[in-house]
Symmetry: C2
């Protein structure tokens, strides 16, 4: 496989969906290249014709891998899961897999799309309250679910796709200054996970496109 | 398996996400019971404590199956796919599976959450334009993708989860009176699929909770 080219991640350091994919690559130990797409500069580089050809939704992330370009972070991560060795990102048990996917989809369909850059730009002046409202609503649902499903991690004692979705969403919650005190399970899981090497190496604060004043 | 209880779908006739699950059950030939949750009556039956215990997100669908209750339609459908025989809802080829999941997620994360009942209630007066905008934006991305991936159906020549997501989203587009003329591939796929028995039997116009004046 020496001739195989590395996957290319077209992402943005602070995009929570890009971070999901970076975590998956890191957990699997897959080397990849980053092709940063600055969502702010020049009115948004995701809006160029060049990027639209990669992802007609004009959002990050997109990943070029094995001769195809995929968008949608969970589709990308499941493709990686199904084609690459390394620690599994979905449990073996079908019910546990269903719980992982349910948690992922609460975040990926029920929270993130309502507080992403594009939607908040349309909301305008009240965007802070709007974002807080939808993250809070999602976390109010996630907290009792995670209380049931969690062990050391979101579902049982293995890191899974649920954790990959949870940590970047907590990062967004903190950006929008959400009061996290009603969510002890989410906070506990996040605190455990952010100490993990794969989550650390993929953190928005240390990517190739992270601005100097946001580096840690 | 005579003693096995049927799955129970807690859904709403007109909910596009409930319809996704009904299509999956129909394609697999799985008998199930319906426990309707009226999203309008009594201020919304999904907001009761009783339903909140089934799905803390207070959305339909939720499915009680094999002793657990799952929410999030794509998690439910993939659980059905992984535990039940019958025609597969995801292709065998990993790249085709990735394309199916990408199409599903464009709809389930990129379109539907932005035009569902809860969000439109928050948007208020401009909800028609808001819904049209987000469905149109998603379809503008889906059209060129489907042009590449489609055969008879959304990805190749087998019905898949992508079709299960597409048809209910077109139904919503029609409800919001979207101009469908710029989307010939989506229209062609929808026209083929709505003639399929599983899509017909699960259609919002003929469910146990469909009001008499909306029956066809």
């Amino acid at each position: 496989m020496a001739t195989q080219t590395k996957p290319i991640l077209h992402g943005y350091f602070r995009s929570s969906c890009s971070w999901r994919v970076r975590i998956a690559f890191a957990l699997k130990g897959i080397e990849y290249e980053q092709a940063p797409v600055n969502l702010i500069k020049d009115g948004g580089q995701q809006l160029t014709d060049q990027f639209k050809a990669l992802n007609p939704m004009q959002q990050v992330p997109a990943v070029t891998i094995d001769g195809i370009t995929l968008s949608q972070s969970l589709a990308i991560i499941q493709y990686i899961e199904e084609t690459r060795p390394g620690p599994r990102l979905l449990p073996a048990d079908p019910k546990q897999r269903a719980h992982v996917r349910m948690i992922c989809d609460i975040i990926a369909s029920g929270i993130q799309p309502l507080q992403n850059l594009y939607v908040l730009q349309k909301i305008g002046g009240e965007k802070m309250q709007w974002a807080q409202h939808f993250i809070n609503r999602g976390f109010e649902a996630l907290e009792p679910i995670l209380k049931q499903t969690a062990g050391t991690y979101s579902v049982g004692n293995e890191i899974s796709m649920a954790d990959i979705c949870l940590v970047p969403q907590v990062y967004n919650a903190e950006r929008f200054k959400l009061d996290m005190s009603p969510f002890p399970t989410i906070r506990r899981l996040n605190q455990t996970l952010i100490e993990n090497e794969a989550f650390k190496a993929s953190h928005p604060s240390c990517q190739p496109d992270t601005p100097d004043d946001m580096r840690q």
